[in-house]
Symmetry: C2
């Protein structure tokens, strides 16, 4: 009977199904099968498959773009920059159409309370993104200016492109401000294609930015080498074959050089945010775990900011010295590179110590890990880990080169130290950031006991005394008769555990008996985080603005050869830049949590 | 009081902690913190961090190896093959020590009932792996023979290495046979390092195999080009500088060429299996979902095997024709390549139709998706998707090359068709395999109702009539008052849902009333699967044994240039080979499920 009821409900929806569930004639059976086929093709495609379907579509878009870029890389082939730009422009227009459709449809459904994923983004990320978008818009303006200057000899696609790109930037920022947290629940399969299209359009724009940047760098590097008389390379002719008709041309060209990194960061950031939106499609959000109050306390913040500012100041000093002196004679060049390495070693040693201190504080203060589902955080973790690989590869290559090199410039062993420290620093920093993001927030518990006053230290010390509850699965501690321990893996595998979460109540009983002091640990952690935050900004500024000793020191080039080494660098440098920027974002999140 | 109890239990374990939980003197407090620090450093490290800690360690091992390989790639540098081999040998010895330690410790604890993950592997995977391992052992024997022949002028490392490698292979196969399903629950952090060390040692061996293979191919390609008078490339001298003292030298060299692909597959397979073991460390296995009976019914298997065997036979024919004729004059060469493309188009069209038919059957027969946690299946899916990228890149490059090419050989447009079909075929096949792996097994439900007889078709037809239960999250169908629907995302996020799973019972009530026919759909699916299985073997055989028209047709080389195109191929070819082999494994699994 239950079955009949189900069928009737279905019939009301579909209008063309049969009244009897038991079928005998084969023609009717066929008809039913085709009806169902039609229904399931148009409406309910299983989620897993829809993900694969759209994911494969997006990947192929990117690959078409990459293969066009590879063809352009081979100068003199019949594939030209214009072809790539037309392809990207098409993708952008499709994305604009989809966004318009989405916004209009949402507007019409505004009476519905849309579900939101509060973890998807924060207002400071949106702010940062808007800043990057503004810089991208300036870049587009420069591109247009450049075209106006050289309009006699440039293809018209080159002016259409920046205009489209600027429109895209404005529309996309609007979309991100008002819709990035949406959890899509209707037209799921279609929306999945729309979102993944947006993700991969941005990724392709990122790739194209990286390619331009790499070309630019390579040319700059070659110019410098020829000026120094090192090599006699055939240079790619990037300048148009006519004279500039306006006075600001050189300003545009130089400005573009400094604006590119921001445009690159903008696109990768957007694609990461859209990817989180894609992962959220059709998700059921657990409303209980929604936004907890984030009180950013700033008391006791002295050492961290001061050291951080000192690091930032010295970075700018080193940058200026480097850029001025590295193009001079061989001796000065060598000592400039040596200065960079000494500075880097000091920075990295300080950063390693800060990270280790943070980890030791965590070890002294065990706390259960927060295992609620949060695609945004999971992606943060994976990106941090994944993008370290680029920088590690460069560092290990340097280590191999230093060990194998036959020549011995003054910076040989400092380069070795610098590379090893740079590996270690990322190793430690990743551990610190990931543990910080996954620790259960003290704020969450404190909300329940605000009468008792803030006592995070006491809370954490006491909670550390109850071994089975600190989020670790350790059989030695576990009492096999006790089935009521909520462990990380049980939660992840979706097992049902009906036991009350006792461990949160235990420490609260003690709190009232103990004298309360302001949380020292939290203060130390905040200082560490702000210091690491500024150091990461510093280490982002250096390569972004042209201080890249890996291109200049010659040691690696000797061991790996020019082609292999520049390929490695062109692959790894943008990833390293992204790693630093992403660490900055993550450390800001950590700062708000500790 | 509960707090005191917790502390006392802790004291019994640690023997050196204080009796009072409320501390006043700061020295005592410090002492306590250090004790806790020691405890948490040695014993209970949070799972998430231990994963990151060991994952980063493994990644760095691989990167050291890769940077050594890059240095070797630049001929004439001071880094030699011997350095890489010493590094790999060290890693292998460390892995051997760890495996020995693990086996001995397990042996001593044999009274304990160890938890096993039954999804981790199957006996036929073990069998296939043993076969690959045997071929690897033969390869080692050939290497030793080669060294004996040229012992006058080869470094002794070159003979130590195959001996160590053979020992490693034997020990590892033993380990995989008896321990790969273990779920490790003690010394977790240490074991995590051990397993990940094994994973990345195998990955490095895979990389090194791929590099040798690529070098070999490149040399072969260059030899052929020079023989045809196409180009005048400086060739790398791979031969030793002395004469062979035994008669079998050329047999060894030719044999190695055919044995390399198997060794490469062996190592990537092992690392995937060990990675699943690593993911399982500390996991709590849901015993309810353990092994379901797998009855491989073979009735009605006619069309699939026959078509598959025909595909295999024609493949071998094409392979022989290709290898014999491609090195001849330009005309014959061109028609040989054209023959290959015609053959490929027919194969791919058939495979696409088979895949589409399978997907249509699934659409006509909706069934809830199986969302239980299963790292092995998740990894299968990701590998399938990830490794398609290599082949898609090559195909898109071909499309770009054909569109842009100025020359027009006879196979220009067949190449375009072939490339587009090859993209489409992987797109469809991935969808088919992934949906097959994720669909809930009919067997599972049938176990509960064996008295009612096998009625999978009726079961699935009826279950398709109850929309909210087919594994899709579709708000339009969902009744918001009904909190008892177990949806995929709720299960994944570990939410507690105490409602009984009604949807399994609904169809069972109808089953007894309906006439039963043998499942036609399942038979069609089995035929499709076996056909795809054999086609994938065919498409693996061709490139593995030297039929690689991408190297020979010249179109892509014209557009991308020699360097870029060979780099793309050297990156993509081993991945494509792995994709085909992995599809074969997945399709076998699918065959057992449908």
């Amino acid at each position: 009977m239950a079955e009949h009821g189900g069928l009737h409900i279905m019939c009301l929806n579909k209008l063309d199904c049969h009244s009897s569930p038991t079928l005998s004639s084969s023609s009717e059976q066929e008809k039913e099968i085709f009806t169902k086929l039609k229904v399931s093709l148009t409406e309910d495609y299983p989620q897993k498959n829809a993900e694969i379907l759209s994911g494969q579509y997006g990947t192929n878009l990117l690959l078409i773009g990459v293969s066009l870029m590879l063809a352009i890389g081979n100068n003199g082939a019949s594939v030209k920059e214009e072809h790539l730009m037309s392809f990207i422009t098409t993708l952008i227009i499709v994305q604009l159409l989809w966004m318009m459709w989405y916004i209009v449809r949402r507007g019409m459904q505004s009476n519905l309370q849309a579900e939101k994923d509060v973890h998807a983004t924060t207002s400071w990320i949106k702010g940062g993104l808007t800043l990057l978008a503004l810089l991208s818009l300036i870049m587009d303006a420069f591109h247009i200016g450049y075209f106006v200057g050289y309009r006699a000899c440039l293809s018209a696609v080159l002016v259409v492109y920046p205009i489209i790109h600027a429109t895209h930037t404005i529309a996309q920022v609007h979309f991100l401000w008002f819709h990035i947290k949406d959890v899509i629940k209707s037209f799921e399969t279609f929306e999945r294609f729309g979102v993944i299209h947006a993700v991969f359009t941005n990724l392709l724009l990122w790739c194209s930015g990286v390619m331009s940047e790499a070309n630019h760098l390579l040319n700059h590097h070659n110019t410098r080498l020829s000026a120094l008389g090192f090599e006699n390379l055939t240079m790619v002719d990037m300048e148009p074959h006519c004279n500039c008709t306006i006075s600001a041309c050189s300003m545009f060209i130089n400005g573009l050089y400094y604006l590119y990194p921001f445009n690159i960061e903008y696109h990768i950031f957007v694609s990461v945010m859209l990817f989180v939106m894609w992962k959220n499609i059709g998700r059921t959000i657990d409303l209980q775990h929604n936004r907890k109050r984030l009180a950013t306390r700033t008391q006791g913040l002295v050492v961290g900011p001061i050291l951080g500012l000192a690091a930032l100041a010295s970075t700018i000093g080193v940058l200026v010295v480097y850029i001025i002196h590295v193009e001079e004679s061989l001796d000065i060049r060598e000592s400039t590179i040596a200065v960079f390495y000494y500075y880097g070693i000091v920075m990295l040693v300080l950063m390693c110590s800060a990270g280790v201190t943070g980890l030791l504080i965590y070890r002294a203060d065990p706390m259960p890990m927060d295992t609620t589902k949060n695609p945004s955080r999971k992606l943060d973790t994976e990106l941090l880990f994944g993008t370290s690989v680029g920088s590690w590869l460069v560092s290990w290559c340097s280590v191999v080169a230093v060990s194998a090199s036959r020549s011995s410039p003054s910076y040989r062993w400092t380069n070795l130290m610098y590379s090893l420290l740079s590996i270690l620093e990322k190793y430690i920093q990743n551990l610190f950031i990931i543990e910080s993001l996954y620790r259960q927030r003290e704020d969450g518990e404190r909300e329940d006991t605000e009468v008792a006053g803030p006592a995070p230290e006491i809370f954490s010390v006491t909670s550390s005394l109850s071994p089975p509850y600190n989020g670790i699965i350790n059989q030695a501690y576990e009492n096999p008769d006790n089935g009521c321990v909520t462990l990380e893996n049980e939660q992840e595998s979706g097992q049902v555990n009906g036991c009350p979460r006792k461990h949160l109540e235990v420490p609260l009983q003690v709190e009232n008996n103990v004298e309360v002091t302001p949380s020292k640990k939290s203060q130390i952690l905040k200082n560490i985080t702000i210091f690491l935050f500024m150091c990461n900004i510093s280490l982002w500024i250096l390569p972004a603005f042209g201080c890249r000793p890996q291109y200049d020191n010659g040691l690696e080039e000797e061991t790996f050869g020019f082609t292999i080494w520049t390929t490695v660098l062109n692959f790894a440098m943008p990833i390293t830049l992204f790693y630093r920027m992403h660490s900055v974002a993550c450390l800001f999140e950590v700062f708000r949590r500790v």
